[in-house]
Amino acid sequence: MPEIALTAWQILLVKVLVILTIVPVGALAGGYAEHKVMAHLQHRLGPMYPGGFHGWATTLADGLKFLYKEDIVPDAADRKVFSLAPAAIFVPVLMIYLVIPIDRNLIVEDLDVGIFYLLAVGSISTIGVLMAGWSSANKYALIGALRSAAQLIAYELPIVLSAAVVAMYAGSLSVIDIVEKQNFPFAIWPPGIGLIAFLVFTTGAVAEMTRVPFDMPVAESEIITGPFTEYTGMRYIFSHMFAEMGHMVAFAGIGVTLFLGGYKPIIPWSPLEVVPGVIWFGLKFALMIFLFLWIRPTFPRVREDQLQKFAWKFLIPVSLVLVLAMGAWVLYV
């Protein structure tokens, strides 16, 4: 096989292209999965029609509909900020994918500070949400944006702390190191600590994605769609749908990497290692996505003050205790 020699710039270009393809396709697939899972859970008839067999074209039809919508910018809106906001929301979502290892060598960039980067980039979107809310010149959008910012501060901490627990266990911030360190998925071993950290992380992730039961910022029965009330067509898709789906896919990837042992088999048993890492990753990934999708039809929405109380009075103390427990484990076990 002839060796293909690529310059650093060419490699970068390929990587960027891959990311730019994977994310929208992933978001579409996520949207499709959501349609189907919810249709089955909720006895919905609509998503079973478009395209004939099992409603395979639902997501395409949905996307096309939004593509044809008029792009409206309200008169009172701050035009520049209003148009930039969807990009400010969506680009950070793309950037998360840089450090998620799908297999041992299938990673765009193995940064030394992988987790740190993940968490830092993951929360930039909120600036975009604030931009959208403020520039829309709409009171509902403003309320939604402020709720979103408050939620980010409250739920970023549990995520960071639970990720810190993993980093302490692995003794590294690099995502590859973290996966390699997990002989058993972290959610199983060490007993207790990992599982609780995983639950805290999942809760925080659902809140970061602003999905039910933590979807106060976009609570459609209260404040229409919060910050995205004034957005139409593709801008709406990018700022709300793709961002939410992209976040979901990204958080599922992060969850798999940090807590479920990434591309490794579920138990360290050599025959299982014949199965390629991509498949293991895919299976665990599908499990995470289903978990996220399952939560939505099950719960009502919590109230803003309850949401804050839950984060500050329960999740954060629990994750602080987890950090202590993990410290003890690392030192004495």
């Binding site: 006895h43 039809p297 009502p300 929405r301 919590v302 109230r303 003050d305």
Partner: protein, 385 residues
């Protein structure tokens, strides 16, 4: 630096923060007339301070269609179809008090079969209505699943009523003197199947919402309507019963043949959103009981009494009331001997119920506002007529 009027400069704000009382501006938020939580065109002038709702004033009238005036131009047979459109979720029950009013003015004897079928239709309609509010209340709290389940359960009953009346929404089935026609073959089986299905599955749905911890936190102690306040606003129906008022026209002033059935009036003591919703769900069960009993005792015979060719009420006036899905529906009919009413004053339940909103909404959260609006079970057409 120039500061815009009304905006405080930094030192002032810093001083306020250090003294512990930061003065924040209140914002006027127009909820509606077009808003997902109002199910129609209902406006709420809300003054909010952050997430807190300082004051709220319901503004109605966006849907006024002038039915009270319209009915003065039409004869009694046409009116039943008109009043049916007031509350579009309990249509067939709207037709009832009008038919009863005309019947008692004209002293028409309604055959027993018609009376039984009227009870059945009304209770089926009540189940439909309550399931609809079950669906929408869940949706307002962010739980989307109950909506789809409730609509699935509604379908069988809806089909049965469609088979009997020819309409899915506007039935036009009650006439002064009885019914438009007898129910078709298979109606009983179909309706009973639908009702039993609802009863079988209701406990599951109940658990989905009433048993959910988040749901309890969102509703218990939220939007309390005290008994006295409910009395003073003339609140009736499930909302009043949720505030501990044991009043149900079906029980306290039986019309049709309601006194022959064994059913209970569900009440709850606290008057919060949870209790209102609890009452609503339990009324479905009671309605189903009535339907089953009515089918058991359904007599045979004609469904139309002896009605003269021209329906012409003699001079006189009468007030008839019935228990609509959402409360007491009253019709005050004045006749000057013509084929048309001289005046028809309609007392709709939603109108009175909604007037208590302003009181309940004060000093709550924006999210509570939606929960309270949802738990007040109003239909816009019923408020404005």
């Amino acid at each position: 630096m120039a500061v815009a009027p009304g905006v405080r400069d930094a030192s002032e704000v810093a001083e306020e923060i250090s003294s512990g009382r930061l003065v924040t501006e209140e914002m006027l938020l127009n909820v509606g007339p077009q808003h997902p939580a109002t199910h129609g065109v209902f406006r709420l002038l809300a003054t909010i301070d952050g997430e807190k709702l300082v004051d709220a004033e319901p503004v109605i009238g966006y849907m006024h269609r002038g039915y009270e005036k319209l009915v003065e131009q039409r004869d009694y047979r046409q009116i039943t179809n008109l009043v049916s459109r007031m509350d579009w979720l309990s249509n067939i029950q709207n037709e009832l008090p009008l038919a009863m009013a005309v019947e008692s003015l004209m002293e028409i004897e309604v055959p027993p079969r018609a009376q039984y079928l009227r009870v059945i239709m009304c209770e089926l309609n009540r189940i439909l209505n309550h399931l609809m509010f079950f669906a929408s209340f869940g949706a307002e709290l962010g739980a989307i699943t109950p909506t789809f389940y409730a609509f699935r359960e509604r379908e069988d009953i809806q089909m049965a009523m469609e088979a009997a009346t020819g309409g899915r929404m506007h039935f036009g089935f009650f006439r002064p003197g009885g019914l438009k026609e007898d129910v078709p073959r298979g109606f009983i089986a179909q309706a009973l199947k639908g009702v039993r299905q609802v009863i079988d599955r209701l406990p599951d749905y109940e658990n989905l919402l009433l048993g959910n911890e988040i749901f309890k936190q969102r509703t218990i102690g939220v939007g309390v309507l005290e008994k006295e306040v409910a009395y003073s606003y003339g609140v009736s129906g499930p909302i009043a019963r949720g505030s501990g008022i044991d009043f149900d026209v079906r029980k306290d002033e039986p019309y049709l043949v309601y006194d022959q059935f064994d059913f209970q009036v569900s009440t709850a003591p606290n008057g919060d959103c949870f209790d209102r919703f609890w009452v609503l769900v339990h009324e479905v069960v009671e309605s189903a009981k009535i339907v089953e009993q009515a089918f058991e005792g359904l007599p045979s015979g004609p469904v139309m009494g002896k009605v003269p060719r021209v329906v012409q009420a003699p001079v006189g006036e009468i007030y008839v009331r019935s228990e609509n899905s959402l409360g007491e529906l009253g019709m005050y009919l004045i006749s000057d001997g013509d084929r048309r009413p001289y005046r028809l004053k309609i007392r709709t339940p939603s109108y009175n119920n909604v007037s208590a909103l302003g009181h309940v909404l004060r000093d709550t959260f924006v999210s509570d506002m939606i929960a309270i609006l949802g738990s007040f079970f109003f239909v816009l057409g019923d408020i404005d007529r």
